[in-house]
Symmetry: C2
Subunit: 457 residues, 2 copies
């Protein structure tokens, strides 16, 4: 069976839909009822008559029409009963949000749930998870209310997370930054569906260009790495792994009840499978944003354009540290720029437009870098705070980014004014990084992935 | 001479005050005229009659009263003339914003400026710099308008930067985050005053508790390290160094015209002098915020309190990686908490309050950790997004942080709702970090600094 029922169901039922706004079952039902979901949503709660003016069902079996997906938010001891009722109703997909299974040592209950699912052929996401957020279909089982935790818009980055908290907190952060996603899955205890199967599904998903994963351990490492090796040259897969120390992996056990394994073994396996490992969550999405929006580079020569000397220095450091090279633009390009730009601008690498930079200076410098045959990639540092620079520079960069066949990474740092303009760059498809080192790291990953793909593609 | 004229002048003159809002000289004069500066501010511009309704002087010598500090924003070739006039006017302190000296190879002009300053005993900040921002006195020579680049409020972290762009961009970021500073100096080419002298001055500054520095190279390394070694056990000094690769240090030359030197040599010298080195700018301020607000710990046992399991795992990883230990709270504390808190909470290390956390759960857990003799430091992870948690938890944390004699680091991640609450924690004196790893790194630095001070203090 495909996992389509999870991501694009026509009808859902929420078991444990609650009238209390502080309860997960309340928020989840409201997500479907008030959100972007276009299908039917049924509340199930034996103690309530109605919810949001909708008739409340005593049991899932009382629902008149078919149900493609059920979301289970009842206390753990009641989950087996609820799941049996789903089986009798011929429901084929269930997300079990409820906690209280193997992560607290309750292996017996976990096994019972597993065998009921097997008997009735119900596929499970969970137990002990947050579930799914899909901006395309409007499926949203995140039990944090939207005013506390915003949801990102429709994009091309799929993101799966073993940890619900890390997963959802990063979604909230992404929404603030204007980053977008295709699908999100928090899969918790992997009672049935695990990271391996999700990655396989997402590798065929038309809305997904890159796959990001956070996990601490996995139930079937061998299978995961086999699948990843087969797919990674088609779609980039990047991971961030928690529980890398011994004490950390002990903490993992009381979290998702899985074994974390040694950091070195995992890193080696990631490399072999062509998986890109990130040091932290923000870095993972740095990589993902560059790889999902930019073309693959022809070589490793990077040209830096900046309006702040110190940021240029940091970019050069980052380029070298990542094994990339500084581009040396042709004499023709240098002379062309010297004719057009103020005489005190430094036309080397970095090209330093100084604190007097204006939008048209950026237009000229980026255009020269795009056209110069000795440049493979471009880092554009734009400190919006300099006096003569107007917000129009974002349009200059977006236009250049659209027509360029070379990857362009933008760097901008600062406060609120800058954050507004960075969001408009993101919206225009120009990925923007907080510091030169972050852009250079992402460029390094893009280049290495290009090499990997050439070898294995 | 003390550097007081730079930080708390009674009167300033801006040479090159301009009517054009896109010009640095315009913004700088406006900073003094419209900002928090309480003294007299004179515009000097031979081409203008008045500026903001103020009489404009043709030369600094025409100003009737005394001038404690002059800010020079005229083109580089005119700087010698302007400086001579300052000398005749008996001005003792000058900030030279103007660029076009040794950083572009114009060593002769730089030397000329230096000898004029020496002759007239004028102390210089600059050339090629942004100058000073002092939230206490209102001195603000940052030429980026405030709507583009916000200024942080009054705090206890001094921050000096060789790079003007990096310096000011970080101020903008700090203002957005609600972080505060005591003094900021961008000192550029170090034509006269360098990092060594600034650090010496700031070490005696009553408003400054910790000193942060960004630099690429320095004019007198030996002197800098001698001074730092003498002072670092009294006030923590932290640095971030740019130009750490060979190519990066070449880029430094066309930036501030100084030699960068090898990264390894610098790191060794930093360690010997008791200077704390940060990997990136945000990390430097992470360290500074913890060290400026929290007491020194008695030992290295850290208790983690969380409402998200995955974040707990990350904190444990961070604690171990930093050479710290997981605290093992006493049986008495465990039993006390078990009696009060819901039975499914995990009372170990981390204490996991789960996604059902409420403010009073945090109050109980933090109180137990403060009182437990086996805990030296506390990391409180608070994901504000969970359904039942109200913003009141910030007051719980601030109150605990105030009475605790153990250092407390808070971790909160997410989007806009979370950012608002993080700012209120900062305002309440509880330093807040974006990720568990960042809090753990800062805790590690705090612990190591405590050890260093015990040994050398």
């Amino acid at each position: 069976m495909s996992l389509d029922n999870f991501f694009s169901p026509k009808s859902v039922a929420v078991l444990g839909a609650s009238r209390n706004p502080g309860k997960p079952g309340h928020v989840i039902f409201r997500n479907f009822f008030e959100g972007d979901f276009k299908g039917k949503a049924y509340p199930v709660n034996p103690k309530a008559k109605e919810l949001f003016g909708q008739k409340c069902y005593k049991s899932v079996e009382d629902i008149p029409g078919p149900v493609d997906l059920v979301i289970i938010v009842v206390p753990a001891p009641i989950v087996p009963l609820a799941l049996r009722q789903c089986g009798k109703k011929k429901i084929k997909a269930a997300i079990i949000i409820s906690a209280g299974f193997k992560e607290i040592g309750n292996v017996k209950l976990e096994e019972e749930v597993k065998s009921i699912a097997k008997k009735y052929r119900i596929r499970l996401v969970g137990t002990n998870c947050i579930g799914i957020y899909d901006p395309y279909s409007g499926v949203d089982t995140i039990f944090n209310p939207r005013y506390k935790l915003e949801r990102p818009g429709k994009g091309e980055i799929a993101y799966i997370s073993q940890s619900g908290a890390i997963g959802t907190v990063m979604l909230d952060w992404m929404a603030m930054k204007g980053y977008k996603i295709s699908r999100f899955v928090s899969y918790g205890n992997e009672t049935d569906i695990g990271a391996d199967e999700l990655i396989e599904y997402l590798s065929k998903d038309k809305d997904t260009k890159v796959i990001c994963a956070y996990f601490e351990g996995m139930k079937d490492g061998r299978k995961f790495f086999e699948i990843a090796r087969k797919l990674s040259h088609r779609k980039p897969i990047m991971v961030q792994k928690g529980g890398t120390t011994t004490a950390g992996s002990t903490a993992v056990q009381s979290h998702t009840g899985s074994l974390a394994g040694s950091a070195e073994i995992f890193s080696a396996a990631f490399r072999q499978a062509g998986i890109i490992q990130a040091d932290d969550m923000e870095e993972m999405f740095d990589f993902a944003r560059l790889l999902s929006t930019q073309p693959l580079p022809k070589g490793k020569r990077v040209q830096v354009i900046t309006d702040g000397g110190g940021f240029g220095v940091m970019a050069v450091d980052g380029i070298i540290k990542n094994g990339l090279e500084l581009a040396r633009i042709e004499k023709k390009s240098v002379e062309g720029l010297k004719k057009k730009l103020p005489h005190y601008f430094v036309i080397k690498n970095p090209i330093d437009l100084t604190g007097n930079a204006e939008s048209w200076h950026y237009a000229e410098a980026i255009d020269a870098a795009i056209k110069d045959p000795k440049v493979d990639m471009i880092i554009v540092i734009v400190l919006f705070q300099v006096p003569a620079l107007t917000p129009e520079v974002t349009e200059v960069i977006i236009e250049a980014s659209k027509r360029s066949s070379k990857p362009i990474a933008v760097v901008a740092s600062g406060g609120r004014y800058t954050e507004v303009l960075k969001k408009s760059l993101e919206a225009g498809g120009a990925p923007c990084f907080s510091y030169p080192a972050r852009a250079a790291n992402a460029m390094g990953v893009l280049y290495n992935y290009t090499q990997y793909r050439r070898k294995h593609g």
